[in-house]
Each structure stands twice: as structure tokens, then as C-alpha cells.
């Protein structure tokens, strides 16, 4: 975000300089990571161990010392500044004197500006919620957007919407920042010159007049996936008006595999809808269906709904698990760990090419014919999976990944049909996309026509092909040949600079629209605010080419809906649609398709040499294909598995890293807990070269290098420009998702690059923090979570005892089910939006100063159940992964409260550790004394107070903090207060569920539950009563109110044995 980091950088040119030259000799930190030593150390372990970073696992004493020190030795603690101590003290004395004087002033006069005519239904000071939807790819998530006197401030899920069910994902949460992004394009321009909208309309209409004569010869439209019925209808109208015009589609980060796979299997394009709630065994073939792709928010709810476990009493007579104790089981085969794979019961890293073989072998084992060549270890794994799949006829599910080939998708369809799953765990409908085509071919056709001079006018709607096109298409050169180019996009980006006209596009909260969800349900996208700038929607631009130029998008959407729903009382229907956010009954009915495919008919698979490296292109988990590059929240969001921020990196597996002798080191300077110096590599692929930082990722298949897309933007805005490396540069149309190259394609440059990784912050030192067990162990020992617990007597209290804090009425508590958390990050962004949390920038994250109130720790587990040392290598190359969200633990015996010299953090009668910003003087004693490291300090003024757009965005219910103030999770105390006041007005106790914290509300898997622990019927009290419920570090007697339900995995005993 502009301003949020700019100011700080301007003030500290010295600090910035340091960042640019991370010379190795200036670092007095531990030596670079030695993977061989890690392996050796792993083998000497004899018990279970959890680890977060390779350095921690290596157990380097220098690294441990680094963690112990808040500010490592010889580190200039606060600022890398040229001001010495003496000058600093002088300055401080002067500023103290002035600060004292400024405190004497009266508060300035303020004005109250009421409405002239107050809108109906608005109560001043009370937020309103409007139903709308955020379109994304071939899905749309239904939303209820909070509006404060006309300013949308927060996005929540719409419980009535099928793809939301009340939850959202990180992208939807962060979309509010896109609305207020100050770098958005603000007007129509022609060759960079500001033009009026009517000038554009005139130009478009004169073009239209020409095309009417030529029937649209040379008129082309380029869009991404279109799942808006009204937009599609408009394009169709135009195509009938100009029969020779053509519509092309290019969605860079969504493969054609699913579409073409359906065509291969059924002879027609179909949409696949999964019902994970009905599946006992799920096999994912490189599919991240729980974190990306259409319907993932709903799939998460359904999938983790099958993993909520009740309390369990040992019954020696029963040897079968009772039904409520059954869990589904997830097997994942994938080349690089995804969120779905990280939480799987069994995870098998295979190269992308091997996954096709694996799918063939799976089909063969199920008697469908064909054959696949897999390694003996994978075959053993596959045999067990097949056995398990056969155990539950009609109740299993095989999911193929978005980036996988058509062949794998077709095989998955065949396997699902063979297992009888169609109709129970998945069903087919007509496509959600308005016009399913092969995007690569469609785009290739466009490029060929452009090269041949057949394109006279190109209208590009919303996409950024100059940045995302495969480099062999040489799109930029071809675009320059087109006479008339019109680009409609939210930012003036890479494509806009080569286009004649640029129309600033309205945000989805500024304009009318409609969109289909993953199951076909139609929602009307309702605006909450008039466009902030002179922006227009794609619908308005298209209308300029029809015979109704100048028609508003409201009319376009309404007319389309009227035509589709000839209800007697349309106005009533329209109002109901806007109120509900969904049109009931518009979900596509399942339709039956017949399989026209046998695995044996597949051509023989290409052999891939194991000596070659496989380069995979994947959308970035935080900024996707680059469209969110200028979103500071998403840039600073630690990526779910790697925990990197502000950068992408070439991900390599530990074994490949050893082969290529890649490593990284931790410099110790200026408290830079988050800084990792990674080796820089040159990657030469298909005649092009890119320079990237390399990151070692445990759990990745050997020989696989992942190049995340979306970074290296050259014209994204202040936040997104020149971050990371651009993987599109080495991506070609023939190797869109994976490219093979000999190991020489990757060469070390000898340089190091500083990456900001949050997993090095706030290390908890291997204490008893994360607890997990297998379902089998849980059955035998329901009390496993408390085995190592050492709880001191309750009387040992820092307070005068219960008498002082009886918590008579309400006792707020939060329970987080680690069984349901897959680290998807929705809660982190929801918290950031709700609580006005600033973005600090890469420079500050490197120093461990990120401000997120809730962090998600990612743990790997190193275990050798059979005490067989060879399995430790497995721990490094394919570790079990766990996620643990850590907000403030709201201790009953809070160590932070005891050390505050000014009483800025005090205990509330309901047990909250209240943080009073206006008392805080920034001693940071509280943070020092917090065993959970959940307090965040505003080292600088991270908030942007000047940019007017951000003033509109902030939640008026939460104080905007300034420099020098400590802050932390408050359990959304503003929401508690509002609910308390409303219930007290009615003289009723606060009902369970009346208070929903922002993280809880966003969580798709309902892993977070908040409520009153005093009410035995509340959901949280019931969870706290479970045996799995444990608190972190109970030996400290802090008695946290935030507790965790231990993770229970459901591994297959057959595979454990093997």
C-alpha cells in the first residue's frame, strides 16, 4: 500500500541501502544451512519432534542463540541509522519536551456533517449489511458486506450462498483493499492522456459503425473466464451483431485440463461438483481442492465437517469405532506440498509427470485397462489406496488437480465412475462458464491472427495478457501491430501501456453484475458504493458496441434477469434477489453423462528421465496469477506452507537442493528474525532466463522446482511492482504447467537474496505446543493431549485469587480445532480487515515486526515410530505437516499484565487482557514477558494516516493505533461490546453465537469457536470439555482462555506397517 511503507523508507535511506546489499561478510550469524548435518542429526533422534525450520532441526547452537536474543549481539537494536547514541538522546530529550507541550493543547474543533436527507432504513452509527458476491475464476463467493454510512469496510460470507455457507477465503477478505487501492486507474485515457467517457463512447461507436459495414471483420474480444450470464449475453449479442467478430478467452493460472479431461471422458464439456461430505476415502491427484479452485470454501466445510470428533470414553468391549468417531481419510499425491496435501493423512510426493503414470496405474488396478509405470514404493502405496477405495463402494472420491493434464482428469472421471461415486460424492452439471473453450488454443488463435494482421480492433476485458502470455507467443510485439486496442482493467498495468485506450474498471463493489457459483447458482453482484473514480464496468464498455450504447450496467443485469425469470411480479423478485444474495433454484441440476473413454485408449505416456529437473508453474497462494500483486495485505500474508512474504522463490526439495548445493543462511543483524539469505539461481528454460531466489521446501518431490506465478510485475502499482521474479518469462505454450530440463538449467549465481520468512519469528523452542495423535491412538488413549502436561495447582496465582476475578457473568473463551485447520489464511486477513491492522513492508517483516494479530504456525513432525532411522529421511523429504493458529491466548494469569508499569494492559472482569492504547508508553515489557509471543509493537508509524482512501476503509469501531503502542488480539472486543449492549437492552444474557469473532466468521472449516465458557451449553464450553482440549504450556499456569483441540489424523494402518 502506498504510504504505509513509503514514509518509513523515505525517512531511513540507510536502512534501505542495507536491504539492497546483503553482503555475506557483514553477517555475523550462524553458518549456512548444511542439509547433510540435518539428516545426520535426525537419525540420532529417538523420539517425536516437531520442527518449523530446517535450521531449528539442524540444532545449530548459533541459530539457537539468535532466537534467544530479542536483539542479537552487536545488532543496532532499533534502527540501522547513522544517528549515534548521544545525538539520539538529545533528539529524544527535545522531542519529549515538545511532546509534553503538545499535550497541553486543547482538542481541535470538529464538525458534525449530517445527511441532508437520510437514506431509508439507515440508523446512524449502525452498520448495514448488503448481499453481493465476489466473482473469482469459475466461481463466485456470496458475501454480506458491512457498510458504515455508505462505506464498505468488511466482507463476510453469506450463509445462504452455496459456495460460501457463511465463510470466505483470503482473496475475498482482501478484496476490500483492492477497492480502496490508491494506485487504481482513475479515468479513461488514450495513449496515456486523460479523456472523458463520452469521448471514449464516441470513438467506440465510430468503430462500431465501421464494423457494422464489415460484419465485424477484425473485431476481437479477449476476456478471462466468464461466469457472468449478463456479460456472456452481451458478448453473444455483439457476436450476432457482428458475425465475423470473435471472442477469445485466456485465464493464465487455471489449466485446460479439467475442461479437456471432461471432453476426453464424456465427449462434452461438463462441470464437476464434489460432495466431500459423503466421501469416506478421498484421493487427490495433485488437487488443492481444499484451498483453491471452484467451490473450495464449501468443500472445506464439508471435508472438515467429517473430521470433528466427539469426546470418547474407552469401551474395552467395543472394537469397532462408533459412527460418530469415524473420520474420512485423505490421500494426496502431489509434486509440491499444497494446503490440501499438508493436512492429508497420507502424502506421497511424486513428480508431475509421474502423477499421470500413477493415475494410469490406479485405473489399471481397478480393472479399467491400460497400464502405468510407477516406482515400487509408489506402487505399494497405490495398492493400499486401491484396497481402501474398494472398501467403501460409492463413498469414495478421486479428485484431479487444476494444473494436471486432460488425461489425468479423464482417468479420474473413469475411476470415479468405476467406483460408483457419481451421484453420491460428485455429480456433473452443465458448465458454469458461459462459453467453455480451450483457453490456450483460443489465445493461440488470437495471437496467430494478430500476427497475420487479421485483427483490427482488440478489446481486452479485465485480463493482463502482456504480463501473463506464454513468452513464445510474443504477445507484446503482436499487440503493437493492432490498430485499435481497448484495455479495461482496474490498474494501468503492463498491457495498458501498449493499448490505445485504457478504461479504468470499476471494482465489483462499485458496479452491478451477476455471477454463477461453482454449482451454477446465480447471484446478483450488488454495488455498495458509487464508483470512487471515473471508472466504468466491462458491461458499459461492451454496451458501446451494441445498439444500446450508454446503457447502465444496472439495466443490463436487470434486463438479463427479467428475461431469464419472467415472474409475474418482477420487482418483488428483484428485491428478494438483492436481499437474499442468491436466486434459489438456479443451481444446475445434475445431469447424466456417459463415459466414452477407456484408459487403454490413451497414447503411451512420455517417458521422463529421473535425471532431468521438472519445473512446475503454479499460481501463487497469496497473489494468485498476479492480479492481487498490489494488495498489501496479500503480499504480506505469509504463504501457507513456505511462510514467505513479499516475494516468490523457486521452491526445491531438500534432496535436489543437496544435489545443486543450494542452501540458505540466517544473518544476525538488527533483530532480523525474519531474514533468510537464500542462494540466487539462474533458471534457463526454453530459450529464456530468469533469476530467482531458491527456497528449500520439505515435502516436495525430488527433482521438482516450483516457479510460483504472479510476481515480478513491472507495472502493478506501488506495492506490487518489482517484487520477486517473473516466472511467466520462462513459461511457454508447450510447457504451460511443467517443463523438463537437465539439471544444468539451474545454475547458482553465487549471490544471496534476502527473503522475509515469518516462520523464523517467535520460536517456541520445541516445547509441548502442538499435540497430535492418530485416530487409532486416540481410541486407545483418549487422554493423549494431557499426557505430558504438568499443571501446577490453581492456587499458585499471580493474582489475589479467584476472589478478585470471579468471572461471574461472562467468561470469554476460544477453542481452535487443529483437526480442522489447514492454514488457509482466511482468518489472518479477516482479522487484519476487522482490526485496522497495518501493513509494514518487507523490510520490517525481515526484522520480525509484522503486525498480524493471529499468526498461523506451520509445524513439521519428525517421527520414527518403529525406531528405524531410515524413516527420519522421510521426515525431511515428506514430513507430516500441521498448522496452528495463534492469537492472544487471553491468559487468566497473564504474565503481560504484571509487568506493565503504566497499567496499559489490565485484566477485565470477563477475563480479557484489555489493551489500552492511550495508556501505553511502549516499554514492550509485556511482549518480553509473553510466553506465546502474540503481542505486536508499532515500532514505526505503520498506519497510513494521509491517504484519503484508507480513511474510508477503516473499521470505525476499532482505534487506529499510532507509533510506539503495543497491540494484540482483543477477541474482537468491539464485537463483544456491541453484542453485550444489544442483549442488555433486552435484559437477556448474551446468546451463544451472538458474538462471532472476525477469524471465526471467516473460517471455512469452522475450526475456531468463540463463546462464553461459563455457559455449559455453549459450543465453546462443550469443546473445552473434550479430552482433546489442551492449552499451550500449561506448566506456566497462565491458564489461557484460548485452547486447542489436538489434531487427530486418520492414517491407514496398512500403510503405516508398510
Amino acid at each position: 500500500m502506498r504510504g504505509q511503507t513509503q514514509e518509513e523508507q523515505d525517512k531511513k535511506p540507510v536502512a534501505r541501502q542495507h536491504a539492497e546489499e546483503p553482503s555475506a561478510e557483514s553477517c555475523a550469524g550462524p553458518p549456512p544451512l548444511d542439509l547433510a548435518a540435518v539428516r545426520a542429526r535426525l537419525q540420532s533422534k529417538t523420539s517425536t519432534q516437531y520442527w518449523r525450520t530446517l535450521e531449528e532441526l539442524a540444532g545449530d547452537p548459533a541459530f539457537e542463540e539468535l532466537l534467544h536474543r530479542e536483539f542479537p549481539r552487536q545488532a543496532p537494536s532499533e534502527w540501522d541509522d547513522s544517528v549515534d547514541r548521544r545525538d539520539f538522546l538529545k533528539l529524544m530529550a527535545a522531542s519529549l519536551a515538545f511532546a509534553g507541550l503538545s499535550g497541553c493543547g486543547r482538542m481541535p474543533e470538529q464538525h458534525i456533517v449530517p445527511y441532508v436527507k437520510q437514506p431509508d432504513g439507515l440508523t446512524l452509527g449502525k452498520p448495514q449489511f448488503y448481499a453481493t458476491a465476489v466473482p473469482f475464476g469459475a466461481d463466485a463467493i456470496g458475501l454480506l458486506v458491512e457498510s458504515h454510512e455508505g462505506r464498505p469496510t468488511k466482507v463476510e460470507g453469506n450463509p445462504d450462498h452455496p459456495s460460501s455457507l457463511g465463510a470466505t477465503d483470503a482473496f475475498a477478505q482482501a478484496s476490500i483493499l483492492n477497492l480502496y487501492d490508491p494506485d487504481r486507474a482513475q479515468t479513461v485515457t488514450k495513449i496515456g492522456e486523460i479523456q472523458t467517457w463520452s469521448e471514449f463512447l464516441d470513438a467506440a461507436q465510430s468503430l462500431a459503425a465501421v464494423f457494422r459495414a464489415t460484419q465485424g471483420e477484425g473485431l476481437r474480444f479477449l476476456t478471462g473466464i466468464v461466469n457472468s450470464p449478463s456479460l456472456a449475453a452481451q458478448i453473444q449479442t455483439i457476436l450476432t451483431l457482428y458475425p465475423k467478430a470473435k471472442w477469445h478467452q485466456w485465464e493464465p493460472a487455471l489449466g485446460d485440463g479439467a475442461r479437456e479431461g471432461a471432453k476426453l471422458a464424456f465427449g462434452t464439456y461438463v462441470n464437476t461438483v464434489y460432495r466431500p461430505e459423503n466421501a469416506e476415502v478421498i484421493l487427490s491427484l495433485d488437487s488443492d481442492f481444499l484451498a483453491s479452485g471452484p467451490g473450495h470454501v464449501r468443500y472445506m466445510r464439508e471435508f472438515y465437517g467429517r473430521r470433528k470428533l466427539p469426546s470418547w470414553k474407552i469401551n474395552p468391549l467395543a472394537d469397532q469405532l462408533p459412527p460418530e468417531m469415524r473420520m474420512n481419510r485423505l490421500y494426496v499425491v502431489e509434486p509440491t506440498p499444497s494446503v490440501t496435501g499438508a493436512t492429508a493423512d497420507h502424502h506421497l510426493p511424486l513428480r508431475s509427470a509421474e502423477i499421470a503414470q500413477f493415475a494410469r496405474a490406479l485405473a489399471a488396478k481397478l480393472g479399467l485397462g491400460g497400464s502405468g509405470k510407477v516406482s515400487p514404493a509408489a506402487e505399494k502405496w497405490l495398492d493400499v489406496v486401491v484396497q481402501d477405495l474398494r472398501k467403501y463402494p460409492k463413498r469414495t472420491l478421486v479428485v484431479a488437480g487444476e494444473q494436471q493434464s486432460a488425461e489425468v482428469h479423464a482417468l479420474a472421471h473413469a475411476v470415479n465412475a468405476a467406483l460408483g461415486n457419481v451421484g453420491t460424492t460428485l455429480y456433473y452439471t452443465e458448465p458454469v462458464e458461459a462459453q467453455p473453450v480451450n483457453h490456450l488454443e483460443s489465445f493461440r488463435q488470437l495471437c496467430a491472427d494478430m500476427a497475420a494482421g487479421k485483427v483490427d480492433t482488440l478489446v481486452i476485458l479485465g485480463v493482463n495478457p502482456v504480463y501473463t502470455a506464454p513468452h513464445d507467443f510474443d504477445f507484446t510485439a503482436k499487440l503493437k501491430k493492432v490498430a485499435n486496442t481497448i484495455h479495461v482493467s482496474s490498474h494501468f498495468d503492463e498491457t495498458s501501456q501498449y493499448c490505445l485506450w485504457h478504461v479504468a474498471e470499476s471494482h465489483y463493489l462499485e458496479t452491478w453484475g451477476d455471477a454463477r457459483a461453482f454449482d451454477g447458482t446465480v447471484s446478483v453482484v450488488q454495488p455498495l458504493i458509487a464508483p470512487l473514480y471515473l471508472t466504468h464496468s466491462a458491461r458499459e464498455v461492451l454496451a458501446a458496441f451494441t445498439d444500446k450504447p450508454g446503457v447502465s450496467d444496472y439495466d443490463v443485469v436487470r434486463d438479463r434477469l427479467k428475461a431469464a425469470n419472467p415472474a409475474a411480479d418482477f420487482d418483488k423478485f428483484w428485491r428478494k434477489t438483492l436481499n437474499d444474495g442468491v436466486i434459489s433454484g438456479t443451481a444446475f441440476a445434475p445431469f447424466s453423462v456417459s463415459l466414452k473413454f477407456t484408459p487403454a485408449s490413451l497414447p503411451p505416456a512420455k517417458e521422463s528421465s529421473p535425471d532431468e529437473l521438472e519445473f512446475l508453474f503454479r499460481p501463487d497462494p497469496c497473489i494468485y496469477d498476479g492480479r492481487f500483486a498490489n494488495n498489501g495485505w496479500l503480499q504480506e500474508l505469509p504463504k501457507p506452507v513456505t511462510k514467505l512474504t513479499w516475494d516468490n522463490a523457486a521452491l526445491v526439495s531438500p534432496k535436489t537442493a543437496e544435489k545443486l548445493s543450494l542452501t540458505h543462511s540466517i544473518p544476525s543483524r538488527g533483530g532480523e528474525h525474519g531474514q533468510v539469505l537464500a542462494n540466487v539461481v539462474d533458471i534457463a528454460l526454453s530459450g529464456s532466463k530468469v533469476t530467482a531466489a531458491a527456497w528449500i521446501l520439505p515435502g516436495q518431490a525430488e527433482g521438482v522446482v516450483v516457479l510460483p506465478l504472479g510476481y515480478g510485475r513491472t507495472k502493478a502499482g506501488y506495492t506490487g511492482t518489482n517484487k520477486g521474479f517473473n516466472a511467466y518469462v520462462v513459461r511457454t505454450s508447450s510447457a504451460l504447467w511443467s517443463a523438463s530440463a537437465p539439471a544444468s538449467a539451474i545454475t547458482k549465481t553465487g549471490d544471496d537474496y534476502p527473503l522475509a520468512c515469518t516462520q523464523y519469528h517467535f520460536n517456541m523452542e520445541g516445547r509441548h505446543i502442538l499435540v497430535d495423535a492418530t485416530l487409532e491412538d486416540y481410541r486407545k488413549n483418549p487422554n493423549f493431549a494431557h499426557e505430558h502436561e504438568e499443571a501446577p495447582p490453581k492456587e499458585l496465582s499471580l493474582y489475589k485469587g479467584e476472589a478478585e476475578f470471579p468471572y461471574a457473568r461472562d467468561k470469554w473463551a476460544m477453542a481452535i480445532d487443529l483437526n480442522s485447520c489447514n492454514g488457509c489464511n482466511a482468518c489472518v486477513i479477516a482479522c487484519q480487515a476487522e482490526n485496522n491492522i497495518p501493513v509494514v513492508g518487507k523490510e520490517q517483516v525481515r526484522r520480525g515486526r509484522e503486525m498480524h494479530w493471529i499468526r498461523i504456525d506451520r509445524y513439521y513432525k519428525a517421527q520414527s515410530p518403529t525406531n528405524d532411522p531410515s524413516s527420519y529421511n522421510q521426515s525431511l523429504d515428506n514430513p507430516e505437516t500441521f498448522f496452528q493458529p495463534v492469537p492472544c491466548q487471553q491468559c487468566e494469569n497473564a504474565p503481560c499484565e504484571q509487568v506493565c508499569p503504566v497499567g496499559a494492559t489490565v485484566h477485565s472482569a470477563e477475563g480479557l487482557n484489555d489493551m489500552t492504547y492511550n495508556r501505553c508508553i511502549g516499554t514492550r515489557y509485556c511482549s518480553n514477558n509473553c510466553p506465546y509471543k502474540v503481542r505486536r509493537f508499532n515500532f514505526l508509524r505503520f498506519q497510513d494516516w494521509e491517504t484519503p482512501q484508507f480513511k474510508l476503509m477503516r473499521n470505525p469501531e476499532v482505534t487506529v493505533r499510532s507509533r510506539g503502542v503495543m497491540e494484540k488480539c482483543t477477541y474482537c472486543v468491539q464485537r463483544i461490546n456491541i453484542a453485550r449492549i444489544e442483549s442488555e437492552k433486552k435484559n437477556e444474557p448474551i446468546a451463544d453465537g451472538a458474538i462471532v469473532t472476525a477469524c471465526e466468521q471467516a473460517c471455512p472449516s469452522q475450526a475456531i469457536v468463540f463463546g462464553n465458557a461459563n455457559d455449559p451449553n455453549s459450543r465453546v464450553a462443550k469443546l473445552r470439555a473434550q479430552q482433546r482440549n489442551y492449552s499451550i504450556m500449561p506448566e506456566l499456569n497462565t491458564r489461557p482462555r484460548t485452547t486447542y483441540l489436538a489434531a487427530v489424523r486418520n492414517p491407514n494402518p496398512e500403510l503405516e506397517k508398510a
Partner: protein, 220 residues
């Protein structure tokens, strides 16, 4: 060795020490005094408004209920400053050509809001909620004074945190038995208010002092 200073200088040194202490003490007291003074709190200071709206006339003479204009006081955190439309409800007929109402008519004509000067201003980190106070029986005049006597509104109390806490520590003194009396500007506590207050606090499920004085009750 001879003494450098004569014994009589002892007085000067003692005097200097004590007067220095006195001055420091006075300085501290003065600072505290200034911070609480009406100069700083703007207590009892009337403000010039774009239209010299008289609460004395509208409330005291005409008897218009508080809630006619401050419509959200019972339901929302803010009592609400009325939109221009509310003024025009009457003034399109009454005094419809009075010069001093021209800003109102202009606002209504042009759609540009009137910018009133804020009289009761709390710091930005304070989250006061009108509705809960009104619903529990704390009257308008308890905090705002006798608005019906004010031609131009001024702040009748200091609005300092200690003033808020006085009541949060002892809310019984402010609770009015009849909830309609909340809007009665002339309400005086009856002689047995202490007794009534205690009963009302129980009946209306008031939170304990410990709960009412949590930091997070007002700051978040």
C-alpha cells in the same frame, strides 16, 4: 579552616530548597488544574453554529421531544444529528422566509449538508454508546445538563474520564425509575434515590462496578 559562608546564609539555602519544592508542587497542581479547567475541557463554553439553533426555544418553549431530532438515541451508539430534512419538516411552513434560516433552506436546495460545530467531543479512542445508557435509565440531562435552558448548547460537564468513572462506579445515583423520565429535563433525584437506585440496578441487570470499569468497556 575558616568557614566560607556565614551562618546566616543557611537561611537562604533552606529558603531556596523549600521554595523550589513549593514551586514544583505548585507547577504540578497548576498543570492538573489547567487540565481540568473549563479552558481545556471547554466546559460551559457556547459555540457559534452556522444556524443559531436554540434548544431553549425548541425543547423548553415548544416542548419537542429529544427523540424527534436525535432519533437513534435509543437504538444506536450515536444519538444522531438530524438531517436537514428534519428541520424542513416544520420550517417549510413555519418561519419559511426567515433570513436566519437561509442556511437550512440552502442546504435543502443544494443537497450540501450543514456543518455543525461539535460541542460534546470525546477522544477518538473512547467508544461511548448512547443507547445502553438511555435504556438503563440514565437521563439526557444527567450528562448534558438542562438542555431546555440553553439558547446555545454548551457542555455542562467536564467529559473527563474521572467524570465518566464517577458514574460507572456508582451508577445507582443516576438511574431514573420511570424510563420515560430519561427525556425529562427537569428530573431531580428523589430523596430516597439511593434505595431506588439499588433496586433499579438489580432489576435492570446492571453490571458490577468491576465490569463497568473495565478498560474495554469504553476503549478498544
Amino acid at each position: 579552616m575558616a568557614q566560607i559562608f556565614h551562618r546566616s546564609t543557611n537561611f537562604i539555602s533552606r529558603f531556596s530548597v523549600f521554595s523550589a519544592l513549593f514551586l514544583i508542587g505548585f507547577g504540578v497542581l497548576a498543570a492538573i488544574g489547567v487540565a481540568r479547567s473549563p479552558y481545556m475541557t471547554r466546559q460551559n463554553i457556547t459555540r457559534e453554529q452556522p444556524v443559531q439553533f436554540s434548544h431553549k426555544h425548541h425543547v423548553g418553549d415548544d416542548g419537542i421531544d429529544c427523540r424527534y431530532c436525535h432519533a437513534s438515541v435509543e437504538t444506536s451508539a450515536v444519538a444522531g444529528i438530524p438531517p436537514t430534512k428534519t428541520c424542513m419538516n416544520c420550517h417549510s411552513v413555519l418561519f419559511s422566509d426567515a433570513d436566519y434560516l437561509e442556511p437550512i433552506r440552502e442546504s435543502y436546495r443544494t443537497g450540501k449538508p450543514i456543518e455543525w460545530v461539535k460541542v460534546h467531543r470525546l477522544a477518538d479512542f473512547v467508544y461511548f454508546n448512547h443507547s445502553i445508557h438511555v435504556n438503563k435509565g440514565v437521563g439526557c440531562s444527567t450528562c448534558h445538563g438542562q438542555i431546555d435552558q440553553m439558547p446555545l448548547v454548551f457542555q455542562a460537564n467536564t467529559l473527563l474520564m474521572e467524570w465518566c468513572l464517577d458514574c460507572h462506579r456508582n451508577p445507582e445515583a443516576a438511574l431514573r425509575e420511570n424510563l420515560e423520565d430519561v427525556f425529562n429535563m427537569n428530573w431531580k433525584p428523589p430523596d430516597n434515590q439511593e434505595e431506588i437506585g439499588k433496586r433499579l440496578a438489580q432489576e435492570r441487570h446492571l453490571r458490577t462496578t468491576a465490569e463497568l470499569t473495565n478498560c474495554s468497556t469504553c476503549h478498544r
